[in-house]
Subunit: 242 residues, 2 copies
């Protein structure tokens, strides 16, 4: 796919530009390192956002979720926090490539030492590393490994960051493996986050679910809504974001 | 429906006998008081049982779940614990009516003072009262109210009883409102029960789920399997057990 390559959106040798949403969104990604997954699409479709919302994405990678929220849905401002310099610069170039430099800010930093004011976010989203350290084989590509395993941030680090960043009536949304659903429900409570919405992703109507979308809010009344199932046509259907 | 009325299966004036499973199971129920719900069918289909299992049903009502397990699925022995005398005698008559007097024992008692040895059950099942006290209107019929509200047993009482009764590799299964799913997941852990299977019941593919089937086991490795969705054709389909 062709792309305008202005000086400040320089494409590196190992990078590609992919078109998404019928070309409305263009995305620089590494050819071999971290690439966004369909989870990011699910999560950016799932989260409740409003026009005046300030959204923070913890571990934004190439910036896919802020970009999708700005392109498809009306929000005021998106911050993408990313600890890995290479990905942070990629996300910043993606913001410029899509004309969002005024409404999407990429911040290089660690969610364990939040570079934001507490209570400043309407919405916090996170597509977290799924694997516990020492579970599964750690990906030999360190960038992918950090995105997929709890090397730099544990689930508790993420929930703690979300809890501190959110304003009182804010919302937190994440996508998480079903195998650890009981675990995340209990941990949410420890950080004063109450699970409010759950949407389960079933590859087919006959298969076990692997991932669940979860929305929580600080404190608040108890009561979880399990939304209609999200059903694919098999694993393959979920692999091509189209 | 006609029924043999031997002297020890006397039908009371306010009772009916209904046929279930194409007449393989006959069930005495009160005409106006507590009647079993479709939840009991879902739960007795959901729980994993083996031929040599001793199963305990906490709050057995008219005995529907032990009866279904003995009729449809091979288990060794079923105990139905019931605190309400009228229902306990009804369950005992249902055991005799269906020829299960040797394999189904009805015990009148309170799950807060378990009349069983600890660690004696392979499987504990419970179709618990859903409503928290003071939530919703309490049913004016006290028998129904006890079955539906946490008047005599709280969720913690039930989980504590299950935890004490189960042998180390035993299984606990229950059905619970989705609105309280996060709550039950956290409480399971406090009683050393680990959620292992979750099956969500959706009235239709487009609707929110109201109930979930949950299986847990004592201690053990973490890891929850979310099984394929159970989807009806609307609420009505779930109301006629056929």
């Amino acid at each position: 796919m062709s792309a305008s390559r202005s000086p400040d959106i320089s494409l590196r040798p190992d990078e590609t530009i992919d078109g998404l949403m019928n070309g409305r969104l263009r995305l620089i990604q590494s050819r071999h390192g971290y690439r966004f997954s369909i989870d990011a699409i699910f999560l950016s479709d799932f989260v409740t956002v409003r026009e005046e919302d300030v959204v923070v994405d913890l571990g934004t990678g190439c910036g896919i979720m802020p970009l999708m929220l700005l392109t498809k849905r009306a929000i005021k401002l998106a911050f993408g926090l990313e600890i890995q310099e290479e990905l942070a610069t990629q996300a910043a170039r993606n913001a410029r490539l899509n004309g969002f430099e005024a409404r999407m800010k990429v911040v290089m930093g660690d969610l364990k030492r939040l570079p934001f004011h507490e209570g400043s976010a309407d919405v916090v989203i996170c597509n977290p590393p799924y694997g516990k350290i020492a579970s599964g084989r750690v990906n030999p590509d360190l960038r992918r490994a950090i995105a997929r395993h709890e090397i730099l941030a544990s689930l508790d680090d993420i929930l703690s960051a979300a809890s501190r960043m959110l304003r009182p009536k804010g919302r937190f949304a994440t996508i998480y493996p079903c195998a650890r659903l009981a675990d995340i429900f209990c941990r949410l409570g420890r950080f004063n986050l109450e699970a409010k919405r759950l949407r389960i992703i079933y590859p087919t109507l006959q298969s076990r679910a692997k991932l669940a979308l979860i929305a929580a809010c600080p404190g608040g009344r108890r009561g979880l809504a399990i939304e209609p199932p999200l059903v694919g046509q098999g694993d393959d259907a979920f692999l091509s974001p189209a």
